[in-house]
């Protein structure tokens, strides 16, 4: 008995022994994690804190002395005391923006600029004030005659608080944008999902002809900046548009234009997701439905739609986020219809009110993050419908259904290609609508805003650098996260950081970069205004999708490779370069082209960050349109389109060549 009662002494806690490889992997992961912290988390934090920086006039910090006109100075009196007495400025009047001014003459009821009375003013604790246009600070008395005292203005001092948010929510113009943004995002989402579902359904469930062509045509919008459809819509439906009558007097400037343009540029995104959802369908379900004599309509609602519901929800949130965060399109065709994304631009660029820009950014983050969270929850619940016994669906010819499917796709394709053709036409016409001869004068970019042909060269540099650097960083990060053992906290944190960019609108990221990098006390300050900051910003902006692509490819690889390599005493980098990378090469190339195309078309993230050396083609489209050079803007937009088409073709050729070399093992 006694023997069995004896308790074994507790042994040493088990710990995984880390070899050199494991340490290297963790170190690389930490380095890339730090990159994400510096390029994403810290700038966002800085921006948030900026939104709490307020400006106000601090009356306690100004003091006056008034003489009696004969050189005898009265007592020193503070502006606060005078205001308490007279109550000329309410609390609201003292709230300010960085550019506000407040004239103190109102504190002196008998002030007249003609009187011989002299005034002295000083600011305590470096409180700033203007005499005319000269900035004064400090506690020395400044003596002024009445006529000059008239030209004195207080400048605001900074404080911290919720003042900006109070101002925001008490301004009907700004708050109205929230409803506007939500409205157009919801309507665009419903329309886009409807159109995209129809096309995806036709592509996967019908036996219509020209499927390959339709597949190709529908992804074209991904290759152009989002503001390009806006330009095309103006040519088509503007006051001089050749299809103006189709709108029956409605104006294209405003929600209508934004919605139509949004459908154009979000269609490929929705289509890709819904197509994937529809393609994993099981023939056996349809056979079962048929043998139960369910009508086609019933089969559609009980088999097709439920099977694709996660795809539909996911696509809806992606489209919603794209529309609500997009800024190029409402800027071009939004007319006076204010939306959040354009408000940020207007606050920062127009009114130089960076703090209010930060507030609107925070407001815009809320729906974007909400959509992101819902999407992640839905994706997690998605279970594989495809089992080993599934039989892929084979569409049967059905004359009536196929005709409808064909018409639906044809109309959508005409819409997509029509928009692009309109832009190309606009780019070639000499002086719309009065001189329709064709010319290349709109391609003389050097005589326009936006940086000329150099900006096109810069865009190529940015796209290439982003694609190369991004593919390396993203794939390395994904590999370390996927193949590192243990270290769960670190891996979860890394995963969170990698998913975050999806929820951050480009414009918000760009603004956060100004606040973070253009601060002289930041050691990374030297990259401000260089190509490097544009590359970092763009890689970060598009990090999530690239990261998910890499993860998917890595997850397909058997986890046995690492133990085998370890038991053979092979270092992990040898395995990485000999096995993992070659196997995942298609995914790496996909990441490459994804980043390239997006870097060519992105406007929102880089619009605050470009400098003299680094103007970009996509921003040039925006700036030329802004200056009224709409045709050259269309021309530059189409240059981006052709470049991306060429990049895609090269990508396809290279992939095919490399795949033949590295993926031969896939073919048995």
């Amino acid at each position: 008995m006694a023997a069995t009662d004896a308790v074994l002494p507790p042994g040493r806690p088990l710990r995984m022994k880390l070899d050199r490889d494991a340490w290297t992997k963790r170190a690389v992961m930490i380095v890339i994690g730090l990159y994400l912290v510096a390029a994403l988390a810290l700038p966002l934090y800085t921006m948030m804190s900026k939104s709490f920086t307020t400006y106000r006039f601090d009356l306690t910090r100004y003091e006056f002395q008034v003489d009696d006109g004969a050189g005898n100075w009265g007592p020193v009196v503070s502006a606060q005391a005078l205001n308490d007495q007279l109550g000329v400025f309410a609390a609201d009047d003292l709230r300010a923006s960085s550019d506000s001014r407040l004239a103190p003459t109102k504190l002196f009821p008998d002030f007249s600029f003609r009187s011989p009375v002299k005034y002295r003013i000083r600011g305590l604790g470096n409180a700033p004030f203007l005499v005319g246009l000269d900035l004064k600070r400090g506690g020395d008395w400044v003596e002024l005659d009445s006529n000059t005292f008239r030209r004195v203005n207080f400048r605001p001092v900074t404080a911290r608080g919720l003042g900006n948010y109070i101002t925001y929510f008490s301004s009907p113009t700004l708050v109205g944008s929230i409803a506007n943004s939500l409205t157009i995002a919801v309507i665009s989402t419903i329309v886009t999902i409807g159109v995209a579902f129809g096309v995806a359904y036709a592509l996967s469930r019908s036996a219509m002809p020209f499927k390959g062509f339709f597949r190709l045509a529908m992804v074209l919008p991904i290759l152009v900046p989002s503001l390009l459809p806006g330009i095309a819509l103006i040519y088509l439906f503007g006051n001089q548009g050749f299809l103006k009558d189709w709108l029956f007097g409605a104006s294209i400037y405003g929600p209508l234009g934004i919605v139509i343009g949004s459908v154009f540029f979000t269609l490929p995104h929705a289509l890709i997701i819904i197509s994937t959802a529809l393609s994993i369908s099981d023939q056996r379900h349809y056979e079962a439905a048929e043998s139960l004599r369910a009508s086609g309509w019933r089969t559609f609602w009980t088999v097709t739609v439920p099977g694709a519901r996660y795809g539909l929800i996911s696509a809806a949130f992606v489209v919603f986020t794209l529309v609500i965060t997009d800024f190029g399109l409402p800027k071009v065709v939004g007319g006076q219809y204010n939306v959040l994304a354009v408000d940020i631009y207007k606050q920062v660029i127009g009114q130089q009110n960076f703090e209010m820009g930060a507030v609107v950014s925070v407001v815009l983050l809320i729906p974007a993050i909400f959509a992101f969270v819902v999407d992640r929850m839905v994706t997690r619940r998605q279970v594989s419908l495809l089992s080993a016994r599934s039989v892929p669906y084979q569409p049967k010819a059905n004359r009536r259904a196929d005709t409808i499917a064909f018409l639906w796709c044809a109309l959508t394709a005409i819409f997509v290609i029509g928009i692009l053709a309109t832009c190309q036409f606009a780019a070639l016409v000499k002086f719309w609508p009065y001189d329709l001869t064709l010319s290349l004068k709109n391609y003389a970019f050097n005589r326009m805003d936006g940086g000329g042909w150099a900006s096109y060269g810069n865009s190529l540099t940015l796209a290439s650098a982003t694609a190369i650097a991004g593919a390396v960083i993203v794939f390395a990060g994904a590999y370390m996260v996927e193949k590192t053992e243990g270290f769960a906290a670190g891996r979860n944190l890394f995963h969170f950081l990698a998913m975050l960019p999806m929820a951050v609108p480009g414009l918000v990221l760009g603004l956060a970069y100004i606040f973070f990098f253009n601060d002289p006390s930041n050691p990374l300050n030297s990259i401000y205004g260089t190509m490097a900051i544009l590359v970092i910003c763009t890689v970060t902006h598009f990090y999530t999708v690239a990261h998910l692509t890499a993860l998917t490819a890595l997850k397909q690889m058997d986890r046995e490779f690492e133990p085998v390599a370890a038991s053979l005493h092979q270092p992990f980098h040898k395995l990485f370069f000999r096995v993992t990378l070659p196997v995942c090469l298609p995914a790496v190339l996909d990441i490459f082209i994804y980043l390239f195309v997006n870097a060519m078309t992105t406007v929102s993230a880089v619009v605050f960050l470009y400098s003299a050396h680094t103007q970009l083609a996509s921003v040039a489209v925006l700036n030329m349109d802004d200056a009224g050079d709409v045709a050259p803007a269309a021309a530059m937009g189409m240059m981006i389109f052709y470049t991306n088409v060429a990049a895609r073709l090269i990508h396809a050729a290279v992939s095919r060549g490399l795949l033949a070399k590295t993926q031969a093992w896939r073919v048995r």
Binding site: S98, D99, G176, Y434, N518, D519, S526
Partner: protein, 339 residues
């Protein structure tokens, strides 16, 4: 594979160093019309071939915002060709380095900062103008307006485009001049009436005229330089200079305090008010900072200068935030576009 990684890193390192400033190079922030930049730079380089200009060109509002954003860490060496009202704001922030350029005495008093040495010097003036599209006007049965007050007539409903004063220098020039011409109360009343007729507010000051030129609307409130250019391009435009007087602003230049290349910056400012420079400005602008140089500009009246109002720049600069606030409150909340 390793070598590709290395060359990538080398490429990134190269990119990192790309933005550093060099002697013999000036980063110049400007709002000069894009099509003039090359010509101005070429003329400057004819005299100073060793100084390379790197332009950062954008509309007035954008350049001003950029400069203010970089207040604690200026990226520009020189501001050449920005609205005087913007330079006044920079001055109130202490961002300009006072400098008396050679030939300052040849510049009209109104075209330079009153301080000595001045913080900024002017180049030329641009003034408000209305672009009226005669073809579209005829289609709609509209007569060209002759005064600002005409623009509030009900027949022009939905026919007028003007720049948003919050983002466009030209737009602010219009609004501040109306407040000076009509007085504050009447000025706002005039804008209330005008607002009823506005089809759209644009972000840039040249766009209304270009839109009028393209027939998007019959009337664009813009400025005279753009109007003349568009007319020259073949647009069916009549350029109207309203009888009450024209708001105006000047293009001006100054050295950004803290530049690490002050010698070259001074040379550029010297040249910016030279006769050679004035002749370049005169290609598009009829009113110059220097007397006796200006020749007539095609499509612009010879007596343009006499139509300009007496503009109180200090008032316009110091009241900018207040006026824009009021303007935004009154007119920017229009949620439905007018047809």
């Amino acid at each position: 594979m390793k070598t590709t990684m290395k060359s990538t890193l080398a490429g990134v390192a190269l990119l990192l160093g790309a933005g550093a400033a060099h002697a013999g190079e000036l980063t110049v922030y400007t709002a000069i019309e894009a099509e003039d930049l090359e010509r101005y730079a070429a003329a400057f380089n004819a005299e100073y071939p060793d100084i390379k200009i790197n332009w950062v060109r954008d509309s007035t509002g954008v350049v001003t915002a950029k400069l203010l954003a970089e207040k604690d860490n200026p990226q520009a060496d020189v501001v050449w060709g920005l609205a005087a009202t913007s330079l006044l704001i920079l001055k109130t922030e202490g961002m300009l380095e006072p400098y008396a350029p050679a030939g300052l005495e040849n510049i009209k008093a109104a075209f330079k900062d009153g301080d000595s040495p001045p913080a900024w010097v002017g180049m030329d003036a641009w003034s408000a103008a209305i672009c009226f599209n005669t073809v579209e006007g005829e289609k709609k049965g509209l007569m060209a307006p002759t005064s600002w007050a005409d623009l509030t007539k009900p027949e022009y409903k939905g026919s007028i485009i003007m720049p948003n004063p919050a983002s466009s220098g030209t737009g602010y020039l219009d609004v501040s001049s109306w407040l000076q011409i009509f007085g504050e109360e009447e000025g706002w009343k005039f804008m209330d009436g005008l607002h009823e007729n506005i089809a759209a507010y644009t972000h840039s000051g040249s766009k209304p005229c270009k839109m009028a030129a393209a027939g998007e609307a019959p009337i664009g409130i813009s400025f005279e330089f753009r109007a003349a250019k568009s007319k020259k391009d073949g647009a069916p435009l009549e350029i109207v200079f309203p009888t009450e007087g024209l708001g105006w602003d000047m293009e001006a230049s100054g050295i950004v305090a803290g530049t690490d290349n002050p010698e070259d910056a001074q040379k550029l400012i010297d040249w910016s008010i030279s006769k050679a420079a004035m002749e370049q400005y005169n290609v598009g602008y009829a009113v110059l900072a220097m007397d006796g140089v200006a020749k007539e500009v095609e499509f612009l009246p010879a007596d343009l200068e006499s139509k300009l109002i007496k503009n109180d720049f200090e008032w316009a600069a110091n009241n900018r935030a207040k006026i824009l606030d009021e303007w935004t409150k009154r007119y920017d909340s229009k949620s439905e576009p007018k047809t």
